[in-house]
């Protein structure tokens, strides 16, 4: 039995990316039911050093036999400084995961090394070359400072994510409400990602009892322009989805832009004015389309676009 998975989409909605220990059968068998856009099966930190082999066997059969439906399946592989990552890549590609999260990325070279190993594995296992996507996790000041080159390192790369735990350790800071300790990393990484045209994801929030703190952080993520967030518990998913959902006013405006643009484009007009006097050109359209997509995913869109 093998469940066919559709070809991964490089730029899709990734509001929530939930970590799951690839070694725990009870977790991975149906991790998709909570509605995360992506799940991240973890071969790295969650798996004990002497269970790395066992986790790969579990992962392989899970990828092959569990129907994850529309949920994206990413695998976090072990760092390039470990003996595990090469075999991790082979099993990911052989199993047919949608993407690989590279832990502790510090340079464009790191991404390229993984890219090459993925290409090799795709050839070995008869997978279409280029199918497997990548994302890079920045976990150190070096990684953050190299974000610009990292973000442009591979056509497989759909995004970068910040990993706060290790980063904070390197910076000798602790978690501060309001996130002043992460302000530079977040802001710089966002700029690097946007400059390269890829997505950007914020780090996990680990205090599961602090709902208020979590909401405040998500609010800040939204305001700063993150595409989504890594999560450690399913109960965080709905909160992120709610807070990322556009308002009815935003949806209405986005609808107007998309409709008007389609109309004008068919008449060969590139720039036009909306009824509220706002000048619109093609640059507005991707943003408007993203709002509609978010609204649909949030279950609040009732239009027909």
């Amino acid at each position: 039995m093998s469940i066919p998975r559709p070809k991964p989409e490089r730029f899709r909605l990734r509001r929530t990316m939930m970590f799951m220990n690839a070694q725990k059968p009870g977790l991975i068998k149906d991790a998709y039911i909570y509605g995360a856009d992506s799940i991240m099966l973890d071969l790295e930190d969650a798996v004990a050093e002497n269970q790395k082999d066992s986790a790969r066997f579990s992962l392989y059969h899970a990828l092959k036999e569990i129907d994850y439906g529309n949920t994206e399946v990413i695998v976090r592989i072990n760092g390039l400084d470990t003996p595990h990552w090469k075999e991790d890549i082979r099993v990911c590609v052989a199993g047919g995961c949608d993407g690989i999260r590279i832990a502790k990325t510090e340079s464009a070279h790191d991404v390229q090394v993984v890219d090459e190993a993925v290409t090799e594995a795709e050839k070995e296992f008869g997978v279409e070359v280029g199918r497997t996507l990548l994302m890079a996790a920045l976990e150190s000041p070096k990684g953050v400072l190299n974000a610009v080159e990292i973000c442009q390192a591979s056509p497989r790369l759909f995004g970068v994510a910040l990993s706060g735990g290790d980063y904070r350790k390197c910076m000798q800071v602790k978690v501060i409400p309001g996130g002043i300790e992460m302000l530079f990393a977040r802001g710089f990484m966002l700029n690097a990602a946007r400059a390269a045209g890829i997505q950007c994801f914020d780090t996990v929030f680990t205090n599961l009892n602090d709902d208020e703190g979590f909401r405040a952080e998500v609010k800040q993520n939204v305001e700063m322009g993150f595409d989504g967030k890594s999560l450690i518990n399913p109960k965080q998913i709905q909160i992120v989805h709610e807070m990322l959902a556009p308002t009815q006013k935003e949806i209405a405006e986005a609808e107007k832009i998309v409709r008007a643009f389609r109309e004008h484009a068919s008449e060969g007009v590139g720039v036009f004015t909306l009824d509220n006097g706002k000048m619109i050109d093609i640059a507005f359209v991707p943003g408007a389309e993203r709002v509609i997509k978010l609204a649909k995913a949030s279950g609040i869109y009732e239009g027909d676009l």
Partner: protein, 102 residues
Amino acid sequence: MELKAVGTAGTLESSDVMITLEPRDSGGIDLTLESSVLNQYGRQIKAEVLASLERLGVKNAKVIVNDHGALDCTIKARVECAFYRGCGCDMDGRFDWGGVIR
């Protein structure tokens, strides 16, 4: 690849299965099965374990299966892991994904 020593994989947690493979020279497969869902799935668990062992080329072994409601994909994964451990394989070696592991 040959089973040389006792190989064990899995845990006793719910939804998991613990597999122990012990090599022997003859006598075929001697399977002992304990399961929390024995009456309803004993037959299927046994079949899954035996099919995996056959793919892996194990002809003679003592096999102990202690199941707590594992799905087929987990049963296969644990049998394979126990086997390669019993063979003394490098845990980061190149495994036959999609070949005998399937």
